[in-house]
Amino acid sequence: MAIKTEPFVLNLGPVHPSTHGVFRMRTTLDGEVVVDMEPVFGYLHRGIEKLAEERTYTGVIPLTDRLDYLASMSNTLAYVLAVEKLAGITVPERAEYLRVIMAELQRIASHLIAVGAFLNDCGAFMTPILYMIREREKILDLFDMVCGQRLTYNYMRVGGVSHDIPDEFLPALDKFVNRMPGFIDEYDQLLKKNEILLVRAKGVGILPKEMAINISAGGPVLRGSGVKWDIRKADPYSVYDRFEFDIPTGTVGDCYDRYRVRIEEMRQSVRIIKQAMEQLPSGAVKSEVPHLIRPPVGEAYAHIEAPKGELGFYLVSDNSIAPYRCAIRAPSLINLTALCDMVKGWKVADAIATFGSIDICMGEVDR
């Protein structure tokens, strides 16, 4: 005979190791089964869009670093692309290549954390993420080399990048890109067919293709559901049209597919970096840009394929030195739209794994 239960509300978070930041999932449970789930946001809201309206165009760059703090390079890249579009500023070719190298390194770093944290949520506690953090550390060392920062780089600037790379950078990068595929293979070999991972992730938290498109999902969440859509291919920015790479996609859209897509994307990023290193031209890394940028009246939207999805900046100018409006299309927030549908009917532990597989960064969700 089944035991009679009645639903009760459990708050997962805002401070909980599985919520990857200060995020609250207000779950209604019946026994261990999730009946309803409502995400509660705002614990990390700093009003970046409002703050941006009081700063000069260049002064906003450090703020954008603090959106998705696991992928600061990508954030700043999207922002400076929008300013360049708005003000009609050109970028030297070398700077474009450096941007691509940094953005792809950043993608690998972000995916390493995403995959590691996801496995953590699946119960492979701390061991996989430790190896991921070890590799990520090498990327942070590379970033440290070029701009002296490990997390908030302020490296992309309007009209180029802040510094040219030091002499020791390219040999170190070369060492890294030669090592990385082997590391991914080794890692993958251990986990790809791991029974525990398969049981925890296969068929769990399914996001069907139609729903993925309808909720405006982006990045690995969209591609995991089988949609071959990548801004780098669909609407190439910077010099992405000069590189050869594939868009990995999943089939069913479960946690495992999203995990696989991230692993494959890391391989593709290494491929892009290798090509960029070969083609890297010499020359200036920053064009002449006035200290105070005064774009003409108008608006511009620039988007990039950030590690977590389409990151876009919509800037409106009133011909003053500060943006009239700086709106951010944050992929982390929008990817959470279907979270409730994905976890409904599953056990609490599966809800945690599903949430981990979406990969969000609260800095970007709450802004």
């Binding site: 946001f41 309808n214 405006s216 876009g312 927030l333 929008i334 739209t337």
Partner: protein, 146 residues
């Protein structure tokens, strides 16, 4: 490369389909009368040669005289995009129709606009503040908020 569809051409098409629905149009975007917003959005989403099944983003801008809500639409099938705008002149209690019934991706974004810009969306299933707490006074992204 994602092709940006001409706002003017689409506006002409829409004006034939729904007379009086277009306020103005330019190469980059078109402004729709908010009364026609849902009908226009449904048309843009369901017409096979347009197929705007993906709503990239919604944003609102405060121009003092009016609020402008910007819908960024993308078709993955045809790889083209379009910017549709609508305006709301009311400042005390601005209301626009919600597009959540068409694109669920609008859910959190409309709540965010309601929270920070103070525009209500008619027909939204769960319209409440997204980031700030219930009971917070004012809407910080408005230009006159200090």
């Amino acid at each position: 490369m994602t092709v940006a569809l001409s706002g003017q051409e689409i506006a002409d098409k829409l004006d034939k389909q729904f007379p009086g629905s277009i306020v103005e149009s330019s190469q980059d975007s078109l402004v729709v009368n908010s009364e026609f917003l849902l009908r226009v959005a449904t048309f843009l989403k369901d017409t096979p040669e347009l197929d705007f099944s993906y709503l990239t983003a919604i944003t609102a801008v405060d121009y003092y005289d009016y609020f402008e809500v910007v819908y960024r639409l993308t078709s993955m099938e045809h790889n083209h995009r379009l910017v549709v705008k609508t305006r709301c002149c009311e400042r005390v209690n601005p209301t626009l129709p919600s597009v959540v019934s068409l694109w669920r991706g609008a859910d959190f974004q409309e709540r965010e606009i309601y929270d920070l810009m103070g525009i209500s969306f008619d027909g939204h299933p769960n319209l409440k503040r997204l980031f700030l707490w219930q009971g917070f006074k004012g809407h910080p992204l408005r230009r006159d908020y200090w």
